[in-house]
């Protein structure tokens, strides 16, 4: 549905995108992740035909954003980081305007507006002026205007920015609900939200794709060594020496817990748990717990980008 090949964009001398390539299939929900200035918004602005690429080609549903921007615009709905709302308009009036602007036949506009207000939980606010709505509701209206014409592709730039936790949860549900009818590409700094909503993540850094795949695939590819947590009973120095002495095991931390036990974090290749348990037993250390540490996408993000200012 979306294909980018060698996508490059310069702003003056600065290279914002550097031969970026990716492919997104129909019906997928894909998250675009990266630090500030990584190029996420630039990608979305090119896909929504607001910017032309300096080099490379991007197509949406087979249409080139450079050569057939109007055709691309017919196929997309776009929510920028700041929802494009006219404060004096009512929710219903604004959505009707957005639908007509997206060339929906006038006979279908009232039905489409009613449907999208129900889908986005805006029915109660239909007569409210946009300027009087809360940030969360404004963001819902932003999503509603992006899907009111039932586009094939929905592009959302930081849709959860500035929302409180409850609103984030509601927005997550809203985006999940788009899966049935649309291909969705959205950017976010809130990496845990990406993991919960997306089928796939594209991680970009300095205008290049650093990694892509599901959360599990990314871990499998980039994190061959697992991180293990051990809870031990015994002397700290002895435990340190024993753990460091097991082949291929890297001791990351060892701390004494208030209840008199030790908590150790090690990194080891898959399949080294048995060797670790045996070494502890032979050294007379009491092994109370041995398990893999729970990782989130945040850890992966920090690891892949070397922790350089990660969100």
């Amino acid at each position: 549905m979306i294909e980018a090949a060698g996508l490059t964009k310069y702003f003056g001398e600065r290279k914002a995108l550097d031969a970026l390539s990716f492919r997104i299939g129909a019906g997928e929900i894909v998250g675009l992740v990266g630090k500030n200035g990584a190029g996420k918004s630039t990608v979305l602005r090119i896909l929504s035909c607001q910017l032309l690429p300096s080099a490379g080609e991007v197509t949406v549903d087979g249409m080139s954003v450079s050569e057939a921007p109007r055709e691309v615009r017919r196929r997309i709905g776009f929510l920028p980081e700041q929802p494009p709302l006219y404060p004096e308009m009512t929710v219903r009036g604004y959505l009707a305007f957005a639908a007509a602007l997206r060339q929906l036949p006038s006979g279908e506009v009232p039905r489409a507006v009613t449907q999208v207000m129900e889908a986005t939980g805006l029915a109660e606010a239909a007569a409210e002026r946009l300027g009087n709505l809360s940030r969360g509701y404004q963001q819902r209206v932003g999503i509603a205007q992006a899907i009111v014409h039932d586009p094939k592709v929905v592009l959302l730039d930081e849709p959860m920015a500035g929302l409180d936790p409850l609103q984030i949860a509601q927005m997550r549900e809203l985006i999940r609900g788009l899966r049935e009818r649309h291909t969705v590409l959205f950017s976010s700094h809130i990496l845990s939200e990406i993991a919960n909503v997306c089928d796939r993540v594209i991680l970009i850094d300095q205008g290049r794709v650093r990694a892509e795949g599901s959360e599990q695939e990314l871990w499998a590819t980039f994190h061959q060594r697992e991180r293990l947590l051990l809870r031990l009973r015994g002397e700290a120095e002895r435990a340190r020496a024993v753990l460091a002495g097991v082949a291929d095991v890297e001791l990351r931390s060892l701390v004494a817990e208030p209840q008199g036990t030790l908590a150790a974090s090690v990194q080891a290749p898959a399949g080294r748990r048995e060797a670790l348990a045996r070494a502890c037993a032979e050294a007379g250390l009491g092994l109370l717990e041995l398990r893999a540490e729970q990782h989130g996408l945040e850890d992966l993000f920090v690891e892949l980008l070397g922790g350089r200012g990660a969100a």
């Binding site: 929504s48 035909c49 700041q82």
Partner: protein, 245 residues
């Protein structure tokens, strides 16, 4: 949806915005108040005068009001969208830049036409004291609409270039002022520049005929041409943002 329907859609939203934000009411009220004062003070006066002279004077100062109103109405058209981050809605919709520009121009011109219609009570008052040529009124009002619409199109162009409404208003005002005084350049230059500067002057040659009740096709063509050129420049400038950024 046809191109004209899209233009009308954009114009309708703009018209509603003028009244929702009160700027439309304020501009209309200011126009009518100042025109009324000028009409009473200078055009009517206390001395007996020919109706034709009264009307000529009425159209003379009304043209100034139409120009100022045109600038005030047009300065927000694109610059405000940029300030409010709403331009993206138009730029990501399957509409052309030309439809956006003409839609916005139409809204401001319709509002100007509305205020001109309301101001008709002033020349109508002359009926109480003398005979009035309806043809002079009709041509005078056509002139007011054309010169006002020309100022709208010029300021709309400035609004495309400007980051804020205020800058758009100042830039539009400067462009209009340059066109107003270009006939002075005609005095200090030789042919063919002399003829050019005199011809492009916004008011001097072209408007006077309207106020006297004379309709010259060349003057209508001048204003229509100026409007089309300014709107086409605005269209191209708006489209160029995709390349420029």
């Amino acid at each position: 949806m046809s191109g004209l329907a899209t233009i009308w859609l954009i114009a309708r939203r703009e018209l509603a915005a003028y009244f929702a934000s009160l700027s439309g009411y304020v501009i209309m009220a200011a126009y009518l108040l100042v025109s009324g004062l000028l009409f009473n003070t200078f055009a009517v006066g206390s001395e007996p005068r020919l109706s034709q002279e009264v009307l000529e004077q009425f159209f003379y100062f009304s043209s100034g009001m139409a120009m100022v109103s045109g600038i005030l109405l047009a300065m927000r058209l694109i610059a405000e969208e940029r300030q409010m981050h709403t331009l993206v809605l138009l730029r990501t919709a399957p509409v052309t830049e030309r439809q956006v520009v003409w839609g916005k121009f139409l809204s401001a011109t319709l509002l100007l036409a509305l205020v001109l219609v309301i101001s008709l009570y002033m020349p109508a008052l002359i009926f109480l004291h003398g005979k009035v040529s309806l043809l002079q009124i009709a041509t005078g009002y056509l002139g007011l609409l054309l010169i006002g619409a020309a100022c709208i199109s010029i300021t709309l162009l400035a609004s495309v270039w400007s980051p804020t409404q205020l800058i758009a208003g100042v830039a539009g005002g400067l462009l209009v002022a340059l066109l107003l005084i270009s006939w002075l350049l005609g005095r200090v230059t030789e042919e063919p520049l002399k003829e050019f500067f005199v011809y492009v002057a916004l008011h001097n040659v072209h408007f006077r005929t309207f106020s006297t009740g004379t309709l010259h096709l060349r003057d209508v063509v001048y204003y229509a041409g100026l409007i089309v050129v300014a709107l086409e420049a605005a269209t191209r400038s708006l489209a160029a943002w995709r390349w420029r950024e």
